[in-house]
Amino acid sequence: MSAFSAIGEETEEDQNEFTPGLEPQPTWCPGCGDFGVLKALKGAAAELGLSPEEMMVTTGIGCSGKLNSYFNSYGFHTIHGRSLPIARAAKLANPGLTVVAAGGDGDGYGIGGNHFMHTARENHDITYIVFNNEIFGLTKGQTSPTSPMGHKSKTQPHGSAKTPLRPLSMSLNAGASYVARTAAVNPNQAKDIIVEAIQHDGFSHVDFLTQCPTWNKDARQYVPYIDINESEDYEFDKTNRSEASEMMFETENALHEGTVLTGRYYVDSDRPSYQQEKKRIGEMPEEPLAERYFDDSYEWERSFDNFLDKHK
C-alpha cells in the first residue's frame, strides 16, 4: 500500500479545488498577466483529473513566485532562480508526483539560467512555466534578460544596450523536448498547452507572456496574438527540430516588432525522459525511493555487510 495515497487517486476535481477556500487571495496588481497563468494551471489540473495533493508546484522569487501561494497543492516557494533543482529532486525521489516549476523571466533566464539549461539538457520529467513579462516585476521594474534592446528603466536609464535573450531557441538548443509559448490574454490556448506540457514525458517548457501593466507600460498587452499552429500563414512541422528552430527565431524577432506569435514549437515524444534513462542504466530504483521509508518489511542495507570486506 502506498504511503502517498493522493498519487494516482481517481478524482473529478473541478478547478475550484485548486483555489484555496479562504485565503490567501492573490495580491497581484489589477490587470497583471500572472492571473492568467494561475487560471490556466487550475484549468489544466482539473482537466487532467489531478488531485491537489499529488501536485507539487515549486516557484522562484518574484511576483510570479507567488503562484503557489494561490494554488491549492503542495508548494515550495524557494529562492531566486532555484525552483528547478528543487523540483527535479522531488521528482527523482517520488516520481509519482506531478511536478510543476514556475518563476519569472529574471528568475529562470537570468539568475537561474544555468539550472534552466541543464534541466532542459537532462530532460527531467517536469513542467516549467516561465512568466515572461520582460521585466523585473517584484523589485519594481528593472530591465530583465528578455527586455527588448533600448528598453529604459531605472537601472538602464539610457535604454538597454543588450539584445534580449531568446528563450525558445535557448530551450531547444539546451535539449527541452517540449517547447511552447502562450500568453495570458489567450486563456484557452494557455490551458491546453499546460495540459499537454504536464502530460509530456520529459522536460516541457512553456514561455508564458504575462503583461505587467505596472512597470512595463510600454509593452504591448500581447494582443493581438497569432496561434502559429492554426494560422495559415505559418507552415512548419513541430516535430522537426530545424523547422522548429526557424519558427522560434522568427517568433522571437517578431515579438519586438509588435507581432505576438504563440503555440507549440517543438514536441519530441520519442526521447526518453531523464528518469527513464537513469533507470535504464541502473542508477534509479524502479519503485519510488520515498515509498521505501514507509515500507516496514524493507531490509535496510548497512555498510558492515556490503562494503567492509574491501577494507579488511
Binding site: 495533493e53 524557494t78 532555484r82 522531488a90 525521489a93 509519482g96 535496510w300 555498510s303 556490503n306 579488511k312
Partner: protein
C-alpha cells in the same frame, strides 16, 4: 616516533601509483597485526609533481602521523616537468629524493631508484648521509621491473626491497597482492617482488640498519578506513539514499564513494551543474521524503550558502559535509586547513541555527555523520559534518566492530496519512505544518503526495500553514520555535556526551584544546610532554554548534591555562570559545599553523615549551604563537 616504529615514506610523482601502493602496504601490515596510520602529501596536479605517502607502523595504537620518519623509498617522478634547475618549480625529477631528506631521522634508511635518480644532483648529499648516519641503498628498481614486467612495477620492487631491509615477512605483502591484483598483472608483479627481494639479500648488508618493522597482534578484526569512507558509511547506515554534488577536492572522495555504492542500494546520485543546484537538490529530495545529503569544499560551500538558509527557514532536514582546504578562494586545493570554521557556522543571511560537527577520528566521523542525520531529520534542521583533507584522506585501522551497528532509516518527525487526519488544518484545508507551540520546537512535517498534508514551504517568514506573513507576533513565535530546537539538541548531546574527549590526567595543570582532525596529533603531543615531566591534558572538541559550553567551561576551569591548537591563521576556534563562553580570553593562548601541512606532534611540543612556558620566539614560521588577551 618511538624506536619500535617503522615510519615508511614512499615518494614519487603524482600518477605513479604511490597512493595505491602505500594503501596495500598499510593494509598488509594491518593484517599482520600492526597498527597503521597514513599521511598523504600531494600536489594539485594529475600527472607529475612530487607526492608522498607516509605509513606509520606500530605495535601500539597510533592516532597521528609521527615526527619525522625512518625509511624513505624514493621512486622517480615519471611525469616530471621541466627538469632544469633554474625552472620555477626546480628540478622535479629529483624531488622524491631531495625533498624528503629534511625529515628523515638519524640512522634512517634511504632506498632510491638509481634507474631514475642521481643523487649527485643534490647538494651535499654525501655529507648529509654521513652526518646523519643514513643507510643508503641505490637500486635500479626500474630495470628489475622492466625485466619481468613493466616499468610501473618498480613500486612492487621497492616494496620488496623494504621488506628485505626492514625484515618484513614477504608473504604478508604477497598474499595481499594476490587479493588486490587481477591475475594478468599478479604473476609478473610476484616475480618482480621475488627478484628484488633476493637481490637485496644477496648483494647488500641488510643487517646493518637497526630498523625493523615491529610485530604485533590485534585482539579483534580491523579494517583500514579513511575519514571519507567513514562519513559515507555513516550516511548509508542512516538510510541516506540520495546525494547530489559537484566535484571539488577534497570533498570529491565522499561524493565518489557514495556515487559508486548507491546504485546497488537502490539509491540515487546526481552530479549537477553547480553547488547551488547540489544543495537545492538535496533539499528537494529531503522535502519529498528521501534521506538526502550534499557537500563540498570551501568554494562550493560558499555557493550553498543561500540554499542552506532556505533549509533553516523551511525546516527541511539537510545533511551537508564540508571538506576544508587552505583558503581563501582556490587557496591550496590539496592542503588541509581548518579555516572554514566560521564560514560553516554562520554563512547565509539571518541568525544561523544548525548543527555543526567536527569529528576527530575516523570512528567519530562515522558516528557523528549518523548523529548528524538523526538530528537533521528529527529536528528538521541542517546538520553539517566539517572535516578536512587530513581526516578525509588519512587511513588508519579501526575495529570492524565500530561499523557493526543497526541501520536506521527513520525519517524522523514526519506524519503518516492516518496521523494527518487528526492533525490541525486551516480554513482552506491546509495542514498546519509550522505550528507555533510544539514540544521542543519541532512541528512534524507532511510529504508531498500524502493525502491531507498539503501546505506551502517558503523561504519567506510564514504562518502555521505556510502562508507568507510579516506579522510581528507570528514572526517572534516562529523564530523562537526554530531557535529553540538548537537548545533542545544541546541538551540531547549533553546526555550522550561521547564526542568531546578529554585525554590525559584529570588533575593536570595545563590544557591543550583542539578541534576536529588535529585531535590525535595533539593527544600524542600531550603524551610526549607528560613523558618530559609536564602536566598536560587535552580537550578535543567535536561539536561546534550547538557548542558544548559546560564541558569546555569545566575543562578551562580545571587548568591554570590552555593552549588552543588549530589550523587557522586568525584563531577562529579560540574566538568561538570566547564568544560561546563569554570570556576566558585571558586564559587561552593559541598555536596556529597554516602553511599547508597539518601539525606534527613536535610542533605542538615546541609551541608549548618554547612559546607558552618560556615565552620565547618560535625558531621558524612553521607555526605561530598568539598570546592570551592582555599579553
Amino acid at each position: 616516533m618511538t624506536d619500535h616504529e617503522l615510519i615508511w615514506r614512499i615518494a614519487g610523482g603524482s600518477g605513479d601509483g604511490i597512493a595505491s601502493t602505500s594503501q596495500n602496504f598499510a593494509k598488509a601490515l594491518m593484517r599482520a597485526g600492526l597498527h597503521v596510520f597514513t599521511h598523504r602529501h600531494y600536489p594539485s596536479r594529475i600527472r607529475g609533481g612530487h607526492t608522498y605517502t607516509e605509513v606509520r607502523v606500530s605495535a601500539d595504537p597510533v592516532k597521528s602521523r609521527g615526527d619525522g620518519y625512518n625509511f624513505l623509498l624514493a621512486l622517480g617522478d615519471s611525469f616530471a616537468r621541466n627538469p632544469s634547475e633554474g625552472a620555477y618549480y626546480g628540478n622535479e625529477e629529483i624531488k622524491p629524493l631531495s625533498e624528503n631528506l629534511d625529515e628523515l631521522v638519524e640512522g634512517g634508511v634511504i632506498v632510491y631508484d638509481s634507474g631514475l635518480l642521481d643523487p649527485s644532483e643534490i647538494e651535499d648529499f654525501d655529507e648529509r648521509v654521513e652526518e646523519n648516519n643514513w643507510h643508503v641503498y641505490d637500486i635500479d628498481l626500474r630495470t628489475i621491473a622492466r625485466e619481468h614486467g613493466r616499468e610501473v612495477m618498480r613500486n612492487t620492487a621497492g616494496v620488496a626491497v623494504t621488506c628485505a631491509i626492514a625484515d618484513i615477512e614477504p608473504d604478508v605483502i604477497k598474499s595481499l597482492m594476490s587479493d588486490a591484483m587481477p591475475d594478468k598483472i599478479l604473476e609478473p608483479n610476484l616475480t618482480v617482488f621475488d627478484d628484488a627481494y633476493e637481490m637485496v639479500q644477496e648483494e647488500f648488508d641488510v643487517e646493518a640498519p637497526d630498523i625493523q618493522a615491529p610485530t604485533g597482534e590485534h585482539d579483534e578484526e580491523q579494517v583500514l578506513i579513511s575519514g571519507s569512507d567513514a562519513i559515507a558509511y555513516g550516511a548509508i547506515d542512516e538510510g541516506c539514499r540520495f546525494i547530489a554534488g559537484y566535484p571539488m577536492t577534497p570533498w570529491t572522495e565522499v561524493f565518489t564513494i557514495m556515487t559508486q555504492n548507491l546504485p546497488e542500494l537502490g539509491g540515487i546520485s546526481e552530479q549537477v551543474e553547480d553547488e547551488i543546484a547540489a544543495a537545492a537538490l538535496a533539499i528537494g529530495a529531503s522535502h519529498a521524503g528521501a534521506k538526502a545529503m550534499s557537500g563540498s569544499s570551501g568554494g562550493g560551500f560558499s555557493l550553498m550558502s543561500e540554499p542552506l538558509g532556505l533549509a533553516e527557514i523551511t525546516e527541511t532536514p539537510l545533511v551537508l559535509v564540508e571538506a576544508m582546504r587552505a583558503g581563501p578562494s582556490t587557496g591550496m586545493p590539496t592542503k588541509p586547513e581548518q579555516s572554514d570554521l566560521e564560514h560553516v557556522l554562520y554563512t547565509s543571511q539571518g541568525d544561523s541555527h544548525r548543527v555543526v560537527f567536527a569529528p576527530g577520528t575516523a570512528a567519530e566521523a562515522y558516528y557523528q555523520t549518523r548523529k548528524a542525520f538523526k538530528l537533521a531529520y528529527e529536528y528538521q534542521i541542517p546538520s553539517i559534518v566539517l572535516y578536512d583533507q587530513k581526516l578525509g584522506g588519512e587511513l588508519s585501522n579501526v575495529p570492524a566492530s565500530v561499523f557493526d551497528e543497526e541501520p536506521n532509516a527513520d525519517l524522523g518527525s514526519v506524519l503518516t496519512e492516518a496521523e494527518l487526519e487528526e492533525a490541525p488544518h486551516d480554513d482552506s484545508g491546509k495542514y498546519q505544518r509550522f505550528q507555533h507551540d510544539t514540544e521542543h520546537g519541532v512541528s512534524p512535517r507532511s510529504l508531498p503526495g500524502q493525502k491531507g498534508g498539503r501546505y506551502l514551504a517558503t523561504g519567506n517568514e510564514h504562518m502555521p500553514a505556510g502562508h507568507i506573513s510579516e506579522s510581528p507576533e507570528n514572526r517572534v513565535a516562529q523564530m523562537n520555535r526554530r531557535m529553540q530546537k538548537v537548545d533542545t539538541i544541546r541538551a540531547e548531546l549533553n546526555d550522550d556526551d561521547e564526542f568531546n574527549t578529554v585525554h590525559g590526567d584529570e588533575d593536570a595543570d595545563l590544557g591543550l584544546i583542539t578541534f576536529g582532525s588535529q585531535q590525535g596529533t595533539v593527544e600524542e603531543a600531550a603524551d610526549v610532554l607528560n613523558e618530559k615531566g609536564h602536566s598536560v591534558k587535552v580537550l578535543g572538541v567535536s561539536e561546534m554548534m550547538p557548542f558544548p559550553k559546560q564541558q569546555v567551561t569545566d575543562f578551562l576551569d580545571s587548568v591554570d591555562e590552555a593552549l588552543v591548537v588549530e589550523m587557522t591563521a586568525s584563531a577562529q576556534f579560540r574566538g568561538l570559545i570566547q564568544k560561546e563562553l563569554g570570556g576566558y580570553g585571558d586564559k587561552m593562548s593559541s598555536l596556529l599553523k597554516y602553511n599547508g601541512n597539518p601539525f606534527e606532534p613536535l610542533d605542538i611540543v615546541e609551541g608549548f615549551e618554547t612559546a607558552l612556558l618560556e615565552g620565547e620566539e618560535l625558531p621558524d614560521n612553521r607555526t605561530k604563537f598568539v598570546p592570551k588577551v592582555g599579553e
